[in-house]
Symmetry: C2
Subunit: 415 residues, 2 copies
């Protein structure tokens, strides 16, 4: 029997649709990485009988129960007293927890209230989990052959406690062996086409390796997982298989591990000592937002000209007005001029430009909604490509920005 | 007893953390609007015994059970045969459903497969719910005093079925009376401060009105809900209370109903026949992305200059280099120049500019991470304001863009 977990999210704000629960999603993905399968996730409100009955039911099914929410200092927050009730134990002041909470308040120059002090009162049977980011400690219970973990619902507090304390303990307890992951990141190829290219390779994977396709907007991640006892043999097995797979899909691979495309593009520029600038029309700043979401991007990103208006294309990007009137703003001629001009005007080594019909309006028979031209320009060459994306405005914006970064990946050479 | 609902989300991809479940969040918020309380949400995998046991448990607790997922044409999709098994009925070809699926395929010029035809086979005891956006019909079961609804997991298909068919039926069935909502949208004031200003007003609300505070990043929505039998009396009661509340919080109210701030700003510009342009530094295009996420924004948005680099500020926005070197790029002097320049250069009526320290690097003692200057400029005046946001890069970007739109709201006058 594989180890199974359940996740219980507690909070009226989740149940009534005010707050989107991203915690249970993140926890699921982290457990998946250490070979623990989530069997069920339950969201309930701040209601005593619901919390107790959910705990009882989950205990019958799962080896591990992870609980988030309901740990604040106010009376709505029922999780801690109910866990004490559930295990039939009292609450006891945890001096180490009190010292941690006091230190956190002192570092912010704030006074500790009575309610905050009570956050250091924990069920007698729990092991305290340090919360570096907030005042509610996490709790670890090892009772009746089940592990119960209670954590705050604030995402960055929960993630810190999971990463530093819960996941290592769960891995040690439930997973004696070695588990290795290798992620290959691809862009510009649908999942089904990628799977076709890899069908023979996948069939011949050794039994200790498992493959997962993880698709997300315009990208597909391939995750190879190796499970066994011998770390170096597993690593070697992964390396061999990756070496065989890469030539089959090389054109589409932009990186490995956790790095997003915008990070890989940034690192490439940084390493080459080159700079980049964008001329955006239909994406309206989204490409610039992507590249600047990476800390340190000022080292290679010069800036952008967002030319939503025809006049801005002509005045700020020197687009030939007569040609634009003839060919349209969404045309090869115009994006080529935009990419070249933004590179020169902003003194960048590389220019990328985008002009398209994001929709819902503005489409024609010849250029329907989703038609997008993208250009790449450097000192040596300026090239453009036409794309046909979707009918949806926001998707078109996101696909276009991703495709522009992919144009960079394909055409950039550090020479 | 209030009417209670449960939501069951089915799919391995949810449970293993590959796909974020936004469906149950959206359904919760929609049920809340018609006075139906969600009691529990459960996420389970494509596993027969889990699906059947979850249905049995939910039936004991809830009046309404809404199920999403597991309705695709492949063998992993278990929901439909399991519902037939659960109710002990057979599947029967639904000719109307078949006609709808056929028409959908024809409109896309695609051939109907056998698997697709089988999507028209429905449990004998269900009422078909038309799926205008896809091939899997929804199903409505009215059995043993409980309503069961099964819908596809694709968000836009589910939302269409909910909005056009499920919510109206549920409202009719479970809510005989009238329910009215009025939403007041505020920005630039924390929930606790807003609540202080409204404490006396809230105390004196008539019993048929309920107030909810709905906070989200930098904004707080106030929702007044009126429940009763007399539509015009309820409407009058809401109007009276809103008229009393508004003077207390007027400075912070930017709109009503479902319109986001970027939409309200766009509508204001459109109505006044004015145009806008942005000069962005630390927000790196996010403000431009916000305004252009609204369809039709090309009618008032000219474009932006994203001046991440010092040189771009000097060359493209005429910022005085000596002054910038003295005062720093994050300064009142620089944002004033940026706002004025972008307005003039892009031939816009209004210019907004932002320069700040987004972090994590770049902070100093005098200007720590989170320090942001924002300026508004029109023909009559150019004004700037300093903000201190957070330590988090992405939050600083989003707070800054929101604050810039709020600067427009405060300073723009259509005269």
């Amino acid at each position: 029997m594989p180890t199974t977990a359940e996740i219980i999210s507690i909070g009226d704000e989740l149940l009534y649709g005010q707050t989107l629960d991203t915690n249970s999603h993140w926890i699921s993905s982290q457990l998946d990485l250490i070979g623990i399968k989530v069997r069920r996730r339950t969201t309930i409100g701040d209601v005593e009988e619901e919390i107790l009955s959910t705990l009882r039911e989950a205990e019958q099914r799962a080896d591990i129960i992870l609980i988030t929410g309901g740990l604040g200092p106010t009376n709505d927050d029922l999780t801690k007293p109910l866990l004490a009730k559930y295990f039939n134990v009292g609450l006891k002041r945890n001096e180490e927890a009190l010292a941690e909470i006091t230190a956190l308040f002192e570092s912010k120059g704030r006074e500790l209230s009575g309610a905050n002090k009570q956050q250091a009162d924990l069920p007698e049977n729990c092991t305290k989990l340090t919360n570096k980011m907030g005042t509610a400690p996490g709790m670890w219970f090892d009772e009746r052959q089940t592990i119960f973990v209670s954590m705050p619902g604030v995402p960055y507090e929960m993630k810190e406690i999971m990463t530093s304390q819960v996941l290592p303990r769960l891995k040690e307890r439930f997973f004696g062996g070695i588990i290795l992951h290798h992620i290959i990141r691809t862009v510009g190829i649908p999942e089904s086409t990628l799977a076709e290219k890899l069908v023979d390779w996948e069939k011949n994977l050794p039994p200790q390796l498992k493959l997962a396709y993880l698709p997300s907007m315009g990208q597909v991640k391939l995750r190879l997982t190796a499970i066994g006892d011998d770390q170096s043999a597993l690593q070697q097995s992964i390396d061999e298989q990756v070496a065989q797979a890469l030539p089959l899909i090389e054109k589409y691979v932009y990186g490995f591990g956790n790095d997003e495309l915008e990070k890989v593009v940034g690192d490439t520029l940084l390493k080459a000592g080159k700079s980049i600038a964008f001329a955006e029309s239909c994406t309206g700043g989204y490409l610039s937002h992507m590249i600047t979401s990476i800390p340190g991007s000022s080292a290679y990103f010069k800036g952008s000209i967002i030319s939503y208006d025809y006049d801005v294309k002509v005045n700020s990007l020197d687009v030939n007005k007569a040609e634009m009137e003839e060919k349209g703003a969404v045309s090869e001629e115009v994006v080529l001029q935009m990419a070249r001009a933004v590179r020169e005007k902003l003194h960048a080594d590389i220019g990328l430009s985008i002009s398209g019909v994001a929709g819902p309006g503005g489409g024609t028979e010849e250029k329907p909604v989703g038609t997008v031209w993208i250009a790449y320009s450097d000192k040596e060459k300026t090239v453009a490509k036409k794309f046909n994306f979707s009918k949806d405005r926001i998707l078109n914006i996101k696909f276009s920005a991703l495709a522009a970064l992919n144009m960079f990946r394909i055409h950039f050479s550090s020479n």
